[in-house]
Amino acid sequence: MIAFDKTLLENTILVESAQDLKDGKFISKDQFQATKDAFPTLKTNRNLFMRIAFLLLGAFCYSSCTGVFALLFLSSGADQYEVMLVLLAVLGGVASEMLARNNFYAHGLDDAAIYGFLFALGSASSALSDSTLAMLAVMAVASALCAIRYLNTICVVVSILSVVAFIGEVTFTNSLIPEFYLTIVLFVFAIGLFFLHRNLEKHELAKFYAVPLQALQLCALLIAYFSMNYLVVRELAQNMMRFVVEPGSDIPMSYVFYFMTFAIPLAYMFFGIKRREKLMLWVGIFTMGFAVFTFRYYYHILPTEVALLFGGSALLALVLVIIRKLKGVESGITFEKDRMHDSNALSVAQAVIVNSHAVQQVPAGSPMEFGGGGFSGGGAGEGF
């Protein structure tokens, strides 16, 4: 099912992990070069900027093709709108396949072709069937197939989002699922995804799909949390189901949602550390932040500045205590640098973020596009 040459793909993964070994200073630059010479790889861009640059170029090319098609099909007077979309989808599909055959993998150009294909296919199916459900179903299946065939990460996300949108559409427009059970259906769906990920991880081909599998896990964790988050559930109930929350009353089963809002992040953090999974830990930290936001959204017990000061101080104290405990530990959970994944990107990202924060404190502020360019400049200059 994989579109790429197996040997080259295996070599690509080998060279990538050799790069990790080089970054961890386990092998020298010469040894890494020798590895690269010994194992020919697919054409791939490890540098994210490079990949985005090619994605943009590819997108320009694809959209200029769209322009030509539009001139050919729409100016003749006859309404051949659907034919045009189908032909565009075919063009995208052929381009994706050609690029894969020519060993373009995670290069940027192949991404452009795949996304172009999916976009045209979605538009075509929507125009032909005139039904959102059909369009979402086509998108879910097509992007899942693309994810499997071209090992594409974004396609995993698109596929899962299509399924979620499908479930939402079935609930709200077609009323096939009672609205009240939507959160539970999504939660069950997320658990399904989670176990799907657990099983796929053990598959023999899993090493090719490392990043797409992470995307799958990320989606599962996020959907599981947000389907149970009190804020999301309550706002959805009010907006979509015209549910009115009277003062003194609350949404049904509110205590369950309150519990989940805080319990899920804690569970993520706990299992993230226990199972040594960085992704789960990060999602746990992020969702914990959202849980605090949820709580403050409905209960203003403290004025913002006091909450910020206390929250910040408490976090500061907690972190300092943990750092003190973990400092100097040589194995297992530690505060010392990991030789393998010591990244400069973090300090650069912080330097970028601090700007948006600090500038507000200089009265009158700086003109936006003036400084705006500069911020990302900081990120770009050092990251790679």
Binding site: L21, S313, G332, V359, P367
Partner: protein, 327 residues
């Protein structure tokens, strides 16, 4: 380290690229099962400091009429001074090369002191206007402190605050009203200022590199300069007097092209090509529109896909060449 890395090491050993000792060291490291929470904890520390500094900012803003200003200002000043005092106590001896705190927590102490300094100058100016009517003085003082802190404690965040504050200073000094009313797009001198600051940053970077003055900051300056000049020029190219910006853009991108080769910086190279490409396209479209020939415009739409295909091929070639030259 994941399983794949160990497998890779074994394959490399079989192929004779890795020696047995090296294979053993890889295996030994993997058996330690290191799970470093360093980045997570430092990020949380960073968030905590931003929260506290934001809280102080709001506190100042809300209580501007109730608590005595002088007390608040004095407290903020003391806070900043305390941060820098501890930082000085723990800082390694000053060097023109890259230095590190023994404990990375102090990078964040420095950052907190820097944020407080910014609040201090802003508040002081807002309340007592010791520098007359211009906020530029407050900004430039923040900037000066920022540069001093960045160079003394080797702190990138402080450097980035300093550069932004500097941009603020110049922007306001040149056209204060334009900034207040946010109509920068109609304001030509703004782009010139941006380009001038970019130029200054380039010179600064070159100086740092040649005279070994915190050499590792140089790429930071180039990055800032590139985006400043690139964006100023793109906005300039859309404006009425686009000819001059086309020339400046071309000259700047030629420089960055050369620089990216000598600095072996892929990021610099990619953004050079991207900015040059965008600038070239805008200029091309403007020339075509200027010619006013409808048939020519139609023809351009038809050949556009081939134009982009050619660009992609050129792009791939130039990057391959770049990678070959800088293995």
């Amino acid at each position: 380290m994941n399983i794949q890395d160990e497998k890779t090491a074994e394959i490399l050993y079989q192929r004779g690229i890795l020696s047995q000792d090296e294979l053993v060291s890889v295996k030994a490291y993997r058996s330690l099962n290191v799970f470093s929470l360093r980045n997570e904890l430092l990020s949380l520390l960073y968030v905590a400091i931003l929260l506290i500094s934001g809280g102080i900012g709001i506190l100042v803003y809300e209580n501007i009429d109730t608590i005595g200003h002088s007390i608040l200002i004095a407290l903020i000043f003391l806070g900043a001074a305390a941060c820098f005092y501890f930082a000085f106590k723990k800082a390694p001896a000053f060097s023109w090369n890259e230095t590190f705190f023994e404990n990375p927590v102090f990078d964040y102490v420095v950052l907190f002191g820097m944020l407080l300094s910014g609040t201090f100058f802003g508040y002081l100016q807002y309340q007592y206007s010791p520098f007359g009517n211009s906020f530029a003085m407050a900004a430039i003082l923040t900037s000066i402190i920022g540069f001093a802190v960045a160079y003394r404690f080797d702190n990138r965040s402080a450097l980035s605050i300093a550069i932004t504050a500097l941009a603020t200073t110049i922007g306001i000094t040149m056209t204060p009203r334009a900034v207040m009313e946010l109509d920068v797009f109609d304001n030509l001198p703004m782009f010139y200022t941006g380009i001038a600051l970019g130029l200054a940053l380039i010179i600064w970077g070159e100086f740092s590199e040649r005279h070994n003055v915190k050499k590792h900051f140089a790429n930071f300056f180039y990055g800032f300069a590139q985006h400043l000049i690139g964006i100023s020029c793109i906005v300039g190219l859309i404006s009425e007097y686009w000819g001059i910006f086309a020339i400046i853009m071309a000259a700047a991108m030629l420089y960055f092209f050369w620089k990216s080769h000598s600095a072996e910086s892929t990021a610099l190279f990619v953004f050079t090509i991207l900015y040059a490409f965008i600038g070239f396209n805008i200029a091309l479209v403007r020339v075509i529109i200027l010619s006013g020939a409808d048939d020519l415009i139609m023809l351009c739409v038809y050949i556009a896909p081939f134009f982009y295909l050619a660009c992609i091929i050129l792009f791939i070639r130039s990057i391959r060449k770049f990678n070959k030259e800088h293995k």
